[in-house]
Amino acid sequence: MFLKELSAMPGISGDETKVRNFIREKLLEMGIKNFTDTMGNLFAVKEGQRKDKNPELMIAAHMDEVGLMVSSVEKSGHLRFYKVGGVDEKSLISKPVRIGTDGIRGVIGAKAVHLQKKGEREKALEVDNLYIDIGAKNKEDAEKVVKPGDFVSFDTEAESWGSIFKGKALDNRAGCAALLELLSRKFDCGFTAVFTVQEEVGMRGAKVAAYRINPKVALVIETTTAADFAEVKEHNEATTLGKGPALTIRDESVIVHPQLLERLIEVAEVEKIPYQFRRFLGNYTDAGAISQSRSGVPTGVISTPCRYLHAPASLINLNDLRHLVEIAGGFIRSVAGKGLF
């Protein structure tokens, strides 16, 4: 899987170019027909081994990640910024970033602990109080290489620690890697894979993609929060690393069609693949947009559990990702074999 490459490249919502180009290159290598739309969604048409099997299945994974955008350049040459998507503000300080298409390096600084007045350290530093330093002498010097509107991504090394994988943007490059893996395998039935844009700013790419594809059924491959820490009660963990991919029953954007959920569970049970339920009702995914497309599309969600989602560095267990691919593959075979409804 291409997780390491996918995690390392920038692709903030609205600027998914590098991710899209990378995936398109892989599709071309696999000989898979593909095209894009006006928003930048990337569609891959996977042919089945048998032409009579055409379940009109859409499988989606979003390419975009949360990040920042330069809002202004100060006289001193420091950059102020906005958040793009639900970035974890508490983990921004003391992190390196890359700015714009040239990937200009910068750091998010903060007042040294020695200079803080009593009580200052009690308050969280929000985006309004933070800035990026690229080492420019002043505004003019900075504006030679950056400008307001430039997208900013975290600069985090992707690494494997045994079965644990650390990197940025695992939400949802893990999903992109899984979908690419599925595209490389052989199935009786075809499906349309969509690498969507702008999920993190409101499921916007998936909305128009689903309209275009007009699927009968859809599966969203995602990455979801895990809070499996010692002090957290089990029912608050949301998901647990290493216990298999998480199936969504409902979240803020969708209630998964019961028959579809049952089919996913059946696949996992029959093929003895570990899985868990996502035990948290918050947040949304592309399933929200796809399920309400046209006259409605039954849509399922399967996710890789991930610690420190939307932060500069996240952790997943690679076994969960592998098992996700197995369940999704089993689901495709099951739909080809006996249809869905």
Binding site: E74, S76, H78, D88, K90, S91, I93, S94, K95, P96, I104, V107, I108, G109, A110, K111, A112, V113, H114, L115, Q116, R121, E122, K123, A124, L125, E126, Y131, D133, I134, G135, A136, K137, D141, A142, V145, E157, E159, W161, G162, I164, K166, T225, A227, F229, A230, E231, V232, N236, L241, F280, G282, R307, Y308, L309, A311, P312, A313, L315, N317
Partner: protein
């Protein structure tokens, strides 16, 4: 090797206070070709000694601390997360999402974790994270952790050395590896200069926990004068002007009760004579550097302090300008070359 490469090398070596062997061994190798003798004392301070040409046997000490702030594990919980406390002063808000290197029985990498947003209570949202909310996540089970990284394992901050615009560089432990780079530049410059004084360049230990390395190394050397090379706060948005110095405008000469006025004066004069940029900074009491201990060692050792402006001190993205380090090294070399017995004798004439 140039300054960029040297600084990159020394910021990639760990040296948490009390555990400075890795960085110390590297420095010993790097300074050896530039000096006459390399020595290590009982606490781990490294002395790089260079003979002088004169007969009046002046002894000059220049020091920069090689320790950095770090963490030490205090507990392995039932799910395999490591609690920790700090060695040196951290702002806990800088730690979530930080990579660390654990030097246990086996080298192990970790990430500083914290609970996700959906678990923050309403009244916790605007509040800062506290040290006790944080933990190190290695993804390993408690059983494996007890084998590999037992409680009491030291963790160092992990961060690549980053090249920013122009001569700016960012990374971890530039407090005070920037100072060590000044000593290295100075030693290189001195190979080309004739100097009367014997020189002891010292990489000190345990500055961050109370300038302890400086205490014993000053005693060990008994110098005629000593200069600490450390970092001071560089400008940043919202900073009070009197608290900060500008990056790229030269090293900063300290003044105040901790500093012998004639040493500060001679540094200033040397800078003027050789057209080297420099800035001034004023401290009202003992400085937070090795100079505070040098001054009150033995029967009293005249102390000076030269600082490199640095932004975001005690974070993993400390930021300096290479030009300041180069100017600092040159300034100290010319200062030393200009020393003689009568200047040193004058230091006790008040």
């Amino acid at each position: 090797m140039d300054l960029h490469n040297f600084l990159q090398e020394i910021t990639q070596k760990d040296g948490v206070s009390g555990y400075e062997d890795t960085i110390g061994d590297y420095l010993a190798g790097a300074f050896a070709p530039l000096v006459d003798e390399v020595r290590k004392d009982n606490l781990g301070n490294r002395f790089f000694y260079k003979k002088g040409s004169g007969e009046d046997a002046l002894r000059v000490m220049l020091c920069a601390h090689m320790d950095e702030i770090g963490l030490i594990t205090t507990r392995i919980d039932e799910k395999g997360f490591l609690s920790f406390s700090s060695l040196g002063g951290f702002d806990p808000r800088t730690l979530p999402g930080q990579d660390v290197t654990l030097r246990g029985r086996e080298l192990t990498y970790g990430l500083i974790g914290f609970k996700p947003a959906h678990l923050w209570k309403e009244d916790e949202k605007g509040k800062a994270v506290k040290m006790e909310d944080l933990f190190i996540d290695t993804g390993l089970s408690p059983e494996i952790l007890r084998e590999r990284v037992p409680v009491g394992t030291v963790a160092a901050i992990k961060r690549n050395f980053l090249s920013l615009q122009g001569e700016c560089r960012a990374g971890k432990a530039l407090d005070d590896r920037a100072g060590l780079a000044v000593l290295w530049e100075c030693a290189r410059e001195l190979t080309r200069l004739r100097h009367n004084a014997e020189i002891f360049l010292v990489a000190t230990v345990q500055e961050e926990v109370g300038t302890r390395g400086a205490v014993v190394s000053t005693f060990g050397i008994a110098p005629d004068l000593g200069i600490a090379v450390d970092v001071c706060h560089g400008t940043f948005p919202g900073a009070a002007e009197h608290e900060v110095s500008s990056l790229g405008e030269g090293p900063v000469i300290a003044y105040g009760p901790n500093i012998h006025p004639q040493i500060a004066g001679k540094l200033q004069e040397t800078a003027r004579e050789y057209h080297l940029p420099c800035q001034k900074d004023f401290s009202t009491g003992p400085t937070g550097t090795d100079a505070r201990s040098i001054q009150v060692s033995l029967e009293g050792v005249p102390a000076g302090l030269l600082s490199i402006p640095l932004r975001y001190m005690h974070t993993s993205v400390e930021l300096v300008d290479l030009e300041d380090i180069k100017s600092g090294g040159r300034l100290l070399a010319y200062f030393i070359a200009g020393l003689n017995r009568s200047f040193v004798e004058g230091l006790s004439c008040f």
